[in-house]
């Protein structure tokens, strides 16, 4: 493993274990305050671990035991580059000088650094902005320059902290594609709460919640078969947890969820059941007919979701047409029945 982090920061409630292989991208998914930025801070050297070890390329960047620091490498010696949602370009330098900053700081001559900067400018397709000042750039252009600046410093590990969060939604797809291309060989840790970032850029995903890693695995796997509430919400799926009985998945609330297929697990195993909101039907009275999963629920909110309306309840979310909403008279507080076909429910062990 190129990068390994196993550390605690009790003052921020963080206790995580992460690793990334050379050239791969790991996405840290999690709600705000989950600890993603704290983990990145540990890697970058802006935070000290209370306990644990952080290594890169076999070199220990920081180590501590019980609050006593045993090893510490200063941030500027770590070869770890940081990129946040604010591009933070140096306003008094031109675009080219910004990108050349890393190489020059590491000892390259002005000419070498400028040549390297020009190569990166070509890679991000902004050669004609080379002599401009950052204040004249658009948000997307500035972020592109920031990425080039970080990569031009030839970091062994690149940290991205919600890089698209401050950009307009219509330019993020193009930038994401460009990033995909630029990060192909770069060891990266990407903190995000956008599922598209994870899907398109990350090889692996670690879900962080409450300062702990609650799920870990290849992106497609985690997002199609989430095992934590947050991962499910990011993947846009409904999630229910329970234990395996001969009947199905028994939830804590006493219901039994029927899924498709027969997972090969022993009775009593902790299980997760997921289904897409589009597969959930909303009724005003208890529906009949089986095999179905039915739940009583109270409507919490209605929000537009593409050309459908997402009806959030205290149990599952359902996507229905606006016409249905009107027909059923759905409104927050309304008692309804939700029904899902067993064939639409995916059931697997936690």
């Amino acid at each position: 493993m190129t990068f390994e982090l196993a550390a605690t920061v009790p003052s921020r409630g963080l206790d995580v274990r992460l690793d990334v292989a050379e050239g791969r991208t790991l996405a840290l998914l999690g709600p705000n305050g989950a600890g993603k930025s704290t983990a990145l801070g540990l890697a970058a050297g802006t935070l000290r671990p209370h306990d644990g070890e952080i290594t890169l390329d076999g070199r220990t960047l920081a180590a501590a035991r019980d609050g006593r620091r045993t090893t510490w490498v200063a941030p500027h010696r770590r070869r770890v580059a940081l990129l946040a949602q604010d591009p933070m370009l140096f306003g008094h330098l031109t675009v080219r000088e910004n990108i050349a900053f890393g190489p020059r700081a590491q000892g390259a001559t002005r000419r070498e650094a400028a040549a390297r900067a020009d190569r990166w400018l070509a890679a991000i397709d902004l050669t004609d902005l080379a002599d401009r000042r950052p204040a004249t750039l658009s948000g997307g252009q500035a972020q592109r320059v920031a990425i080039a600046r970080a990569l031009a410093a030839a970091p062994r590990l690149l940290l991205l902290d919600e890089p698209m969060a401050a950009l307009d939604v219509d330019i993020t797809p193009a930038l994401r594609q460009r990033l995909q291309h630029l990060l192909a060989e770069q060891t990266t840790v990407l903190a995000t709460h956008d599922v598209l970032d994870a899907l398109l850029l990350a090889d692996e995903v670690a879900v962080v919640d409450g300062g702990r890693v609650v799920e870990r695995g290849p992106t497609a796997e985690v997002l199609s078969r989430p095992r934590s509430a947050f991962a499910a919400s990011i993947a846009g799926l409904n999630l229910l947890s329970g234990t395996w009985t001969s009947d199905g998945v028994a939830t804590a609330g006493g219901e039994v969820v029927h899924g498709h297929g027969a997972p090969d697990v022993v009775l009593g195993t902790a299980m997760t059941a997921v289904c897409r909101p589009a597969a959930v039907a909303v009724h005003l009275t208890a529906p009949h007919g089986s095999p179905r999963n039915t739940f009583r629920a109270t409507v919490r909110s209605l929000t537009p979701h593409g050309d459908l309306v997402r009806v959030r309840t205290d149990r599952l979310a359902a996507d229905v047409t606006p016409g249905s909403v009107a027909e059923l008279g759905l409104a927050p507080g309304r008692e309804v029945w939700l029904a899902v076909k067993a064939a639409e429910v995916d059931v697997y062990p936690v």
Partner: protein, 280 residues
Amino acid sequence: MTPTSERASAARAARDPAEVPAGLPRWAYAPAVVGGLFVVVPLIAMGTRVDWSNYGALVTSESARAALALSLQTAAASTLLCLVLGIPMALVLARGRFPGQGLLRSLVLVPLVLPPVVGGVALLSTFGRRGLLGESMEVLGLQIAFSTTAVVLAQSFVALPFLVVSLEGALRTAGERYDVVAASLGASPTTVLRRVTLPLVWPGLLSGTVLAFARALGEFGATITFAGSLQGVTRTLPLEVYLQRETDPDAAVALSLLLVAVAVVVIAATHRRGAGGAVR
């Protein structure tokens, strides 16, 4: 809107004549004008009292030239000393974390509120022949009092807080985020200071330097108490003006106007560049 485009639109707004200023109540103009006149009219009044026919002779007398040269040299040296000591002080106060930081900041600002003569007395207590350090220095053959060095020390003592306050404020406002980014790109702390931090706070640094220079140039009380008054050695322009009042009031007024002119030139030259930097 990202911070960079926000800055760009703010800069555009500052130059747009169609933009209506907000947050300026109408009644503020009257006292503001009075305040402006209060500062400007005495200077103009002094100008009307000047013996213009003799002005050239009055300001180029031997004592005047010696005083002016000494003032400029010592003020420049003091400003340099203030920069050498003040930049690290501002950095430590703005960025450091250690016990007693608040107390240290208060102490550093004391020369700002101290009457300059008291400052001179304090310096004498330290560097005078019977002073805390002066006694040992006297034994080593080093005498500070009555020397040009004493003038530089007196000026630096009173001017240093101006630079520190100005720069510390600018450093706090700028924050540490750019420094973090620069470090992550591989820049050592000294490189970060040189290429990122100081350019970022350039307007604050510049205005602090100008203030310190102006304060050093106009310094009187501490100088006359600590350094003494001797032509070419310790008699700076303010001391010369004070002395000329005894015998040649015309010369005193002429030299005063010269001091004002030097101050105005320094402030005007640096203010424009500073403002240009801030708009960017």
